[in-house]
Symmetry: C3
Subunit: 437 residues, 3 copies
């Protein structure tokens, strides 16, 4: 089955669940992911736990939320679209005039058919979200608002997959599971991550270990870092925040703090070959969990490969960010970009030529017999690879230098290794390359 | 009172004085500046004193200089405009034909209404300057030329203000006082410097010491360096030549020898925010006392912030460079640019965040309550400052990196220091950063 | 006599000789060059000698090669144009139909009047080259083909000139002598090299030693490196492959592996002043003996200054690359560019000013007395040279920095040295600058 369709089908299944930063929706989501990833372990962190400067909040349970109008008709119902209720709304059961109600309604005048996504995690209030068109049609009169929610001592839930490799050095993938029914931001993230984890699990050998986490955004990643800081700092040599990898309109890149890590270089290399006009954002335009991972003292080499970037497409954080916007093609493209970036990290090595001057390719059958343009290009690329195989540069650096895709160079390198014209060395990359400009 | 008007009023007072590289005009100028700067000390260096490759010349005294025409009418009179006599003219009292006179007249055919500014410090001759229009109207006949001047053993005069700070490391300002009645080049320089010195004197604390000198150009700065070389080399961590800071048409920048000192970086930062299209000149286009300060073995980190640069505006070195060209607005702008550059040097420090991951701004009231665009920008800037507060970069480097003005970042940094989210360290900058490219 | 005409006249003399990678044509060529260069020694390397990954091939002797047509008429004759026979053709003497003959004919449909240049050094076959126009006119019928050639145990020949200098450190020039009658690629190379060697020989003093070699391309340079590897690695501080230096349409540059050696910097400097729009190629576009010299473990600092680059002009590797395409002017220009690049290497040094602050140029007569624009520029350049004469940068670096030609700066430097305002030091450049990017 086509990978894009498989990922899309998982997204459809997770779509109706009402996720937030805590609560049953997160657990239900993780439980479905466990069907795909038996290695996924779920962890609970109790309300009130201190995580650096933050405290795990109370758990939010939402059972129902609706408004009925002056004639008793149902205006909005959380069960029809979970964006209708503001995330972390406190309970309410009250009759009020339209005027009073308006203060707790949220809509988007510029996108009159979109329901906005609104939350209030750290200030107690309640609210309803609806389309501006519907809001403008509300008649004067008395409305009954009812939110049957609860904020109680509970826990924050997150999932974690650890795949051991030959080295304890790790590649770290982090995605988030705290948004209700929205597709590019965010269902594409956990769904693509799930299939990346399955692909990694199937590999006959892994040079590096892999850590894939499914956390609520911000509080979840802060919590995760606070519990694993030393291990992460010691072992993570590259990593990616997986978010907004589902539509098929664009590729985008957001670098780590100084943009110079192995993750950054791999990602830029992949995107420059998959889509040379990919969107290049600066670290100042960040907005997801790299905000935590790339902070001083944490210093993880986390870059972000995206399709359309959060905040930069019109459907962002509205009901229009749905599973028609996110397509199997878009998901497959997001998956491929991350897969290629990971393959670069796995296969990168430093080649060294074993002969002096150019080797005679012809006597080894390495000289293409057909005189086509493609053959000429291949001879050129082999020749360049041999010339730069001086033991000072990795395949990734050579690929960038000669402007050829890593996957082409790496395949040629393997061939030349088989002919004993190249010997390569594998060095563990330096994960502290986050403080140079 | 508006600072621009105050500076302009000082310039008006100094305007009529006939300054040269030595002589009574320099002393009168310094004496007026002492009214504004009681700390200003005046130094005299005797004729014949050796200063590196140069010798202090004889002192020039000019009492009168005029030409009368065939009908006895007054053609030019030094007392009407001190540009009429060539600087350092030797005495003359002679009757000659127009033809003979022409050899000692100077005018500008392309600017027929401007009197040029001409000097002959190191070759003995005499001359008169006048407008080309007037020159062309001269009738044949006999002219009497009279210059009552004197070149005698005397001294070169300069002024110096030393303002001690917490550190003996110094910021050095140098301006020149050797030009007769011209406004942008040069009265703007000593006038703005005077008000910078007053402002620095009023500061409740100064991290660095300040040295502000008023010298005749070239011979004066060479002389000053020759008397203070070791102190300047040891202590000066930044500095500016103050010249051409009076008109309101442009901002310009001339870097130090390699353009990489703290002075250069501060100046570029200020100008890029005050006037992003400011004129960027190369060190090869220098022409004032940075010619001496930036020479090998002297190696002072001196940059030059200007309004319209010397040599690059049509009125330069003519009678048209007057106090209508130099305006209160222009002077205030020159003052502000230098003031901001000095403030950067004073307030620059290296911040380090005190918590891991992002701090929770909301619980400290640091999250703006109004959801405006400005508020969103401020959150972004706070967030960037915290992310780059990794102890490896100064506020100036961070400001440049995230493209925000230093003064905005520095204010936010102070707030975050008050909330103990940032601790900063102050390092003395390296004043030997003048030999890297 | 004009240098361009002299070089062109040597090219005319060498034109008719049938050169290949081995054989009598190479020896005849070297023997003529010995008339010009009595220091030229000729070396023979026997067939079968192992040179790194390669083996010296059998020697190729070609006596005659022709085709006669159905009516007995001569179709092509090697004695009319030595491009008619494929290089290293094995003997043949056979009658065959036009259809059979076609498989061994080579022509260029897109250049119907050009005879292509084809070789088959490492696979045994035979072939004829002719214009496409002639080929299309061939009538059906029987053709007799006759190639009287021989592949036998023999040797590969190359020539070498060694000119000792004050230092054993060397500048290395390499050119090739394996192409039959073609002018830009290749006769221009050995002819210009011959005159460079004569010019170097005539110099009253040489700071460096010079090694000029005339080798067959690829196998010859590999062979040469294999016999002199340690000496070359130890002594060569700069060098140039001399090829395609004969037409007058363009200047081109091909860098060494990382483009950062003294050769690269000298060449770029010369070309940027001779022809600012010169063609800048990348090392990936290489195609001559720098392919061997710049390989890892050999690491010679070899750059290539060309007129129209091989592979990049329409006449390349055809009979149209002749002595009308290559002109005396073109050859003189190629000679001049290489000569200037060598002069930079010879004369480069690190100047240091001997006084503090600016010296007084006037009292030494160094201040131009004429107030022309040229004079003003010269004062500026002297002033810049003095300012950057800080003992940290060579004349070449200073020339690049202030964007003035080396030859202008070097002349001024000599004058300032005579006036004892500058003292310079000569350092031997680092020849291992080939592994930094």
């Amino acid at each position: 089955m086509n990978i894009g369709l498989e990922i899309h089908s998982l997204a459809q299944r997770l779509w109706p669940i009402c996720r937030s930063i805590t609560g049953p929706g997160v657990r239900e989501t993780l439980s479905i992911l466990q069907e795909y990833l038996p290695d996924l372990t779920v962890h609970e962190v109790p309300t009130g736990t201190q995580c650096f400067d933050w405290t795990i909040p109370r758990e939010w349970i939402i059972r129902e939320a609706w408004i009925t109008g002056p004639d008793g008709e149902c205006i909005v119902d959380f069960h029809k679209n979970n964006l209708h209720v503001m995330g972390y709304s406190i309970p309410v059961d009250q009759v009020m005039t339209l005027e009073e109600l308006q203060e707790n309604l949220y809509s988007l005048p510029e996108q009159p058919d979109a329901i906005p996504y609104i939350t209030s995690y750290y200030r107690e209030r309640w609210g309803f979200c609806l389309t501006h068109r519907q809001r403008q049609a509300l008649k004067p009169g008395n409305y009954r608002v009812k939110i049957d929610s609860e904020l109680r001592q509970g826990s924050l839930s997150y999932g974690e997959v650890l795949l051991p490799g030959e080295s304890e050095k790790e590649v770290f993938l982090s995605t988030y599971i705290c948004h209700p029914s929205m597709a590019n931001n965010e269902l594409s993230g956990p769904c693509v991550s799930t299939f990346l984890a399955r692909w990694l699990k199937e590999q006959p050998r892994r040079r590096y270990s892999y850590r894939i986490v499914f956390v609520p955004e911000t509080i979840g990643s802060i919590c995760y870092v606070s519990r694993h800081l030393e291990t992460l700092r010691r072992n993570v040599i590259a990593g990616f925040v997986v978010t907004c990898v589902g539509d098929d309109r664009a590729y985008s890149f957001l670098p780590s703090r100084y943009g110079d890590t192995l993750s950054d270089r791999s990602a830029r290399h992949v995107l420059s070959h998959l889509s040379p006009t990919y969107g290049q954002y600066s670290f100042s335009e960040r907005g997801s969990d790299e905000r935590q991972y790339c902070m001083p003292g944490v210093d993880l080499p986390m870059a972000t490969i995206m399709r359309s970037k959060y905040g930069c497409y019109p459907e962002y954080h509205t009901s229009l960010d749905d599973l028609t916007l996110v397509t199997p093609t878009g998901l497959a493209g997001g998956f491929e970009a991350l897969q290629r970036a990971i393959e670069i990290i796995e296969k990168n090595r430093t080649p060294r030529i074993t002969v002096l001057c150019e080797p005679q390719l012809g006597k080894r059958g390495l000289y293409p017999t057909l005189g086509t343009r493609d053959a000429a290009r291949q001879v050129q690329v082999i020749s360049d690879l041999l010339a730069y195989a001086d033991g000072t540069r990795s395949l990734l650096e050579i690929s960038d230098y000669i402007k050829a895709p890593f996957w082409e160079i790496e395949t040629l390198c393997s061939t030349l290794e088989q002919h004993e014209l190249i010997r390569s060395s594998y060095d563990v990359p330096d994960n502290r390359k986050t403080t140079t400009c």
